[in-house]
């Protein structure tokens, strides 16, 4: 259906793609595999018309094509679902779906009825049970992702490229997505699937193409490949998956949360979080698992002192009863949060590594009012080394770092405040497998050094691999607690599935 021959692309002299060849046959799901920076996104941007200044040929249905812009590619039948969401927050689902290709009636006005109808059908097909006139801003990230997919399905695309479609959605939605992909395959479409989650690829992909450093390393059928084969091809070397080694610890309670409730603004009846109680021990990695909307992120926010007016709780930190009225309070008391969305909530993208690292702790170096730049620099160097942040200099703008290194900068910022409790919300979201392992290793090391760690994750293998103990949340309540030894994917999922649906 779609093929690329000898594609090369340079960004201001730096080679991003070097002589790439690939075939995307109709009726097959092709997985594009590679580490961050391997060139996957660049290649997809060429196929979908974002870049038109490349060398080589793109062949579509037997004809040589060169799309000048995404719209041209769309019209030809190539749809891409980007990793980052591209929705207008204050428009409704329907309006977003039809943005730029609105249906019009005979007079030339918008045909709202027809658009709503079509949107509703599509949402039903994707099993997203919200009204089609819901405003995007009111949807959760996972639901927004589904809308993004709906956008691509709206017009009859022949080639559908999905770039990390599951990075923000829960397991149950992943199943729905698989159903959709299976249908697309039956309809003889060519599907391109990019994901860091190898398990997914084994489930859904027919063929694979491995990219490394901008080159095609290998391609072939997925059948018969093993996990290790793929990783080996991706990185060119083997990786040891780090298993949790923190066993048998003294149980010193570091953080105790009693009857934590979080109300909903403007709705006194309904609580977002209900009677949450748990303890965290020194040196422990406490995993918190839950599906999207379970209230995991809200729990982290409350523990960082956000929403003070809506929170009721007794929190004991290091034997003192504490009450946080702002993030500043909580950080001072020894809490730190690595937020879920590092670009939006964790980093000042336009500033350099050093400034980001010292952001939460700059007053330590400004006792006289003026910042002691030497001390700040020493600290930045310390963390760059300790967390193995790959960069040429501490003056590098964080926007230009890879996802894994950005995440390390956020962690460094948190560590610089000398926290007692480090909370990590989806710490490995959207970063490649090498960087993931680095982060896991780091988390283990930090726990070993005596920090209490709370890690929220929706990836079961991850949470099983590194937690000492796992709490499960559903609909704002704690629904299960498991020692690592007794936890399995099955019993975690069982506890996580809401009872009221």
């Amino acid at each position: 259906m779609l093929a690329a021959h000898h594609i090369s692309k340079k960004f201001s002299g730096v080679t991003a793609l070097d002589d790439i060849n690939l075939e995307l046959p109709a009726g097959k799901v092709t997985a594009i595999i590679g580490e961050n920076g391997a060139g996957k996104s660049t290649l997809m941007k060429i196929l979908s018309g974002v870049y038109d200044d490349y060398e080589g040929d793109v062949i579509y249905k037997g004809n040589k094509v060169r799309f000048k812009n995404p719209r041209e590619a769309q019209n030809a039948g190539i749809a891409i679902i980007h990793q980052e969401l591209n929705l207008v927050p204050y428009l409704s689902i329907t309006e977003n779906l039809f943005l730029g290709r609105e249906l019009k009636n005979s007079v030339g006005f918008l045909d709202k009825k027809a658009m709503r109808l079509k949107a509703e059908t599509l949402l039903q097909k994707l099993k997203l049970s919200v009204p089609a006139d819901t405003i995007i801003a009111d949807l959760k990230v996972g639901q927004q992702q589904v809308v993004e997919i709906a956008k691509a399905l709206l017009y009859d695309a022949e080639v559908i490229i999905m770039d990390e479609p599951t990075s923000a959605i829960s397991e149950s939605e992943v199943e729905i997505l698989y159903g959709i992909i299976t249908d697309l395959r039956k309809e003889n479409k060519a599907v391109v699937y990019i994901s860091h989650k190898l398990n997914e690829l084994f489930k859904i992909a027919d063929n694979y193409i491995v990219l490394r450093d901008g080159r095609t390393i290998e391609s072939g059928e997925m059948k018969g490949m093993t996990h290790d084969d793929i990783i080996h091809k991706m990185v060119g070397r083997n990786i040891d998956i780090i298993r949790n080694s923190n066993i048998a610890k003294e149980k010193n309670v570091l953080l105790k949360v009693d009857n934590l409730c979080l109300g909903k603004a403007g709705n006194a009846q309904k609580n977002i979080l209900n009677n949450i109680c748990f303890e965290l021990y020194k040196g422990e990695i406490l995993g918190i698992f839950g599906l999207m909307g379970a209230g995991r992120t809200e729990l982290m926010e409350v523990l960082l002192g956000l929403h003070p007016d809506l929170t009721k709780a007794t929190i004991t930190l290091d034997k003192d009863i504490v009450r946080f009225t702002s993030a500043k309070d909580a950080i001072k008391a020894g809490m730190a949060l690595v937020p879920e969305d590092r670009k939006k909530d964790g980093l000042i993208l336009g500033l350099d590594i050093k400034t980001n690292i010292s952001l939460s702790s700059i007053d330590q170096h400004a006792s006289t009012g003026l910042i002691k730049h030497g001390a700040e620099l020493t600290k930045a160097h310390h963390y760059i080394k300790a967390l193995r942040i790959k960069t040429t200099s501490e003056k590098q703008t964080v926007k230009n770092l890879s996802g894994g290194n950005q995440q390390k900068v956020v962690i460094a910022k948190c560590l610089a405040t000398k926290p007692k409790v480090l909370m990590l919300d989806e710490p490995t979201r959207g970063i490649d497998i090498n960087a993931k392992n680095e982060i896991y290793k780091l988390i283990s090391e930090l726990a070993a050094s005596g920090l209490g760690i709370i890690m929220v994750s929706s990836e079961l293998p991850e949470i099983l691999a590194i937690s000492d103990r796992i709490l499960v949340m559903a609909e704002g309540c704690m629904t299960g607690e498991f020692e690592a030894a007794n936890a399995t994917e099955d019993n975690l999922l069982k506890a996580a599935i809401p009872k009221t649906i």
């Binding site: 949060l337 937020p339 980093l347 000042i348 500033l351 952001l359 003026l370």
Partner: protein, 324 residues
């Protein structure tokens, strides 16, 4: 590689290069431009705009804007002049408080700061968009100026007050000293203090800053307070130079300040920019104004040219940030 380094240096100094080219151009066309007198003249003229635009830069770096500076300038100058000349008189209580020169200046600065702090308070406490909050203050402060002066200038303020705007100190005009101090203090704040860090951080990503434990409201209130105070500084210079506090002083000065900030390369969405950039921006506007006058360009054309320069500056800036 070398070329791109060369280019990035070029980008860094583009305002400076533009200023130098502008000076050479005007110098070639008019022999009155490169004289010592004219140099001091330009510097003295832009000192007021520098005070205002430095404050504006801080505000814009946080992602805000302050439209009230022109009116705050007027009331700052009027209060200082009024306190010096009339003091405070409360007839019913049979009370009279006289003010020294320093006291009246402080009075003007305090009023300016308070109005700025009020801006910050409405913006942070009630989430009023900065554009709207300061637009309201633009009218309110102008109204208070009219009330205080009853619509008439307050003139004949004495030689010692006139020294601020017209005097010389070690061979340099006093207003130039004042603007130099303002610039240095602002550079220290932005580059060397935690407050400066927070200003850039908030403009770069307000939510992430909040989660990092920065007290957003406090920083913003301080920044608007500083902007108000600096506007009052400008007001005192203007009043002193004219030896008269005009009720309609500083009209549309906020536009020149925003222009200086923008020409200086500060992003209106916040988080990116420098004080030195703004100073260069103010110099470019000042030199341009001066040059157009020296070249006998009609005042109407002057406005057109100035607008064009602002537009051009932003277009160049956008093109550069796109290439990054």
């Amino acid at each position: 590689m070398i070329l791109s380094q060369y280019r990035s240096h070029l980008v860094k100094f583009q305002s400076l290069i533009a200023l130098v080219l502008l000076c050479i151009g005007i110098g070639l066309l008019s022999d009155k431009f490169f004289t010592v007198d004219n140099g001091w003249n330009v510097m003295r003229q832009i000192s007021v705009n520098i005070c205002i635009s430095v404050g504006m830069t801080l505000v814009v770096l946080t992602g805000g804007i302050d439209l009230s500076v022109g009116s705050v300038l007027a009331i700052g100058g009027a209060i200082a002049a009024g306190l010096l000349k009339f003091g405070i008189e409360i007839p019913s209580g049979n009370l009279y408080i006289g003010f020294t020169l320093l006291g009246s200046i402080l009075g003007g600065l305090v009023i300016g700061s308070l109005l700025g702090l009020f801006n910050g308070w409405t913006i942070t406490k009630f989430k009023v968009p900065p554009f709207v909050a300061t637009l309201a203050m633009l009218t309110i402060a102008r109204g208070f100026t009219m009330l205080y002066t009853k619509g008439f200038p307050i003139s004949n303020l004495g030689d010692s007050f006139a020294y601020i705007g017209t005097g010389w100190f070690i061979g340099i005009p006093v207003p130039v000293w004042i603007s130099a101090v303002v610039i240095v203090v602002a550079i220290v704040i932005t580059q060397k203090t935690a407050l400066g860090r927070y200003i850039y951080a908030i403009g770069g990503n307000e939510h992430a800053s909040k989660l990092s434990g920065i007290n957003i409201s406090k920083v913003k209130i301080i920044v608007y307070g500083i902007a108000g105070m600096l506007a009052a500084v400008g007001g005192i210079i203007v009043t002193s130079r004219l030896d008269s506090a005009q009720p309609n002083a500083g009209m549309s000065y906020e536009l020149d300040a925003i222009a200086a900030v923008v020409i200086g390369g500060t992003s209106l969405s916040g988080g990116r920019g420098t004080i030195m950039g703004t100073v260069l921006g103010a110099l470019i506007i000042g030199v341009l104004n001066n040059g157009l006058v020296l070249l006998n360009v009609s005042p109407f054309w002057q406005q057109v040219v100035k607008g064009g320069v602002i537009l051009l500056a932003v277009i160049i800036d956008k093109a550069n940030s796109k290439n990054d």
